[in-house]
């Protein structure tokens, strides 16, 4: 039963990463792409923690926690910069819509 539960964790993590990548390719909206990236990030953190905890080595367990902590901190920085740039471009009327096509046409 425990193995089934742990299989579920790895399955959930991979499905989250898959949904995130699918959303990144599927959506043309910049904010939606960022949100898809964050879904993918959640899956990756879950996968890293799961793999770190299954090794059974205390050093690896701690290393996984450090990596995920660093990842969360970097993700917050990335979110704040990207959303601020999108907001600035939209307010300065560089973008009519928040769409990837719009950014490409500006080049």
């Amino acid at each position: 039963m425990i193995i089934i539960g742990l299989l579920l964790v790895i399955l959930t993590a991979t499905i989250l990463i898959g949904i995130g990548v699918w959303g990144m390719v599927y959506n043309k909206n910049l904010v939606k792409m960022l949100l898809s990236l964050e879904v993918s990030f959640n899956g990756i953190t879950l996968l890293v923690l799961y793999l770190a905890s299954t090794t059974g080595i205390l050093g690896m367990v701690k290393l996984g926690a450090y990596i995920v902590f660093l990842g969360i901190a970097l993700a917050i920085g990335e979110i704040s910069i990207i959303v601020s740039v999108i907001l600035y471009m939209f307010k300065e009327k560089m973008l009519k819509e928040i769409s990837q096509d719009e950014v490409r046409s500006e080049e």
């Binding site: 539960g5 499905i15 904010v31 949100l35 996968l47 926690a65 969360i72 979110i79 819509e97 928040i98």
Partner: protein, 173 residues
């Protein structure tokens, strides 16, 4: 209150307990549904709120895997500041027109990454070890000792989400 809470948490977060598998199944389904809604929902504000729920479910996963401190960091920093920053920023914009362009290419990429990661995960090893549930006791300790703080945290996050929905709806009107 505390003995009851301890009994409940111990029933769920105990090695070999059937409740643990049940909790994992519920969490897995919830996480996948919210992730799908985040990617496909038409409104950006609601999409961001679904992302916040994905973060919440992920925090529960962290707790079960034995990382209670990371679960709190995920709740406070990631959901509490990061996702709410997206929601508040989006609520300042007018709702943009969304375009969906499905193609076979995206499905092939997704399937490839899915199979690749699953293969790596299975080859690394999926069997539980002694270290897997190393932090379970500390998780129970955190929940029972700081239950009031957790209740306050959940209430504050819920209030912030509700206020952001109200602000964005007011913006639309």
């Amino acid at each position: 209150m505390i003995p009851l809470l301890e009994t409940l948490t111990s029933a769920v977060i105990t090695l070999g307990s059937p409740f643990l598998d049940l909790a994992l199944i519920i969490l897995a389904i919830t996480s996948i549904v919210f992730a799908y809604l985040t990617v496909t929902y038409r409104s950006l504000v609601y999409s961001s709120i679904f992302l916040a729920f994905v973060g919440l479910v992920n925090a529960a996963f962290f707790m079960i895997l034995g990382y209670p401190l990371l679960a709190f960091i995920q709740l406070i920093i990631y959901v509490g500041s990061g996702v709410l920053f997206i929601i508040i920023s989006i609520s300042m914009l007018k709702e943009p027109k969304l375009t969906f362009r499905p193609n076979l290419y995206s499905w092939v990429i997704t399937l490839f990454i899915f199979v690749l990661i699953l293969a790596i995960g299975v080859s690394v090893g999926i069997g539980p070890s002694a270290g897997t549930y190393l932090g379970i006791l500390s998780s129970v300790h955190y929940i029972t000792e700081y239950w009031f703080s957790i209740v306050l945290l959940v209430l504050a996050l819920s209030m912030a989400l509700i206020v952001s929905i109200a602000v964005s709806r007011g913006e639309e009107e």
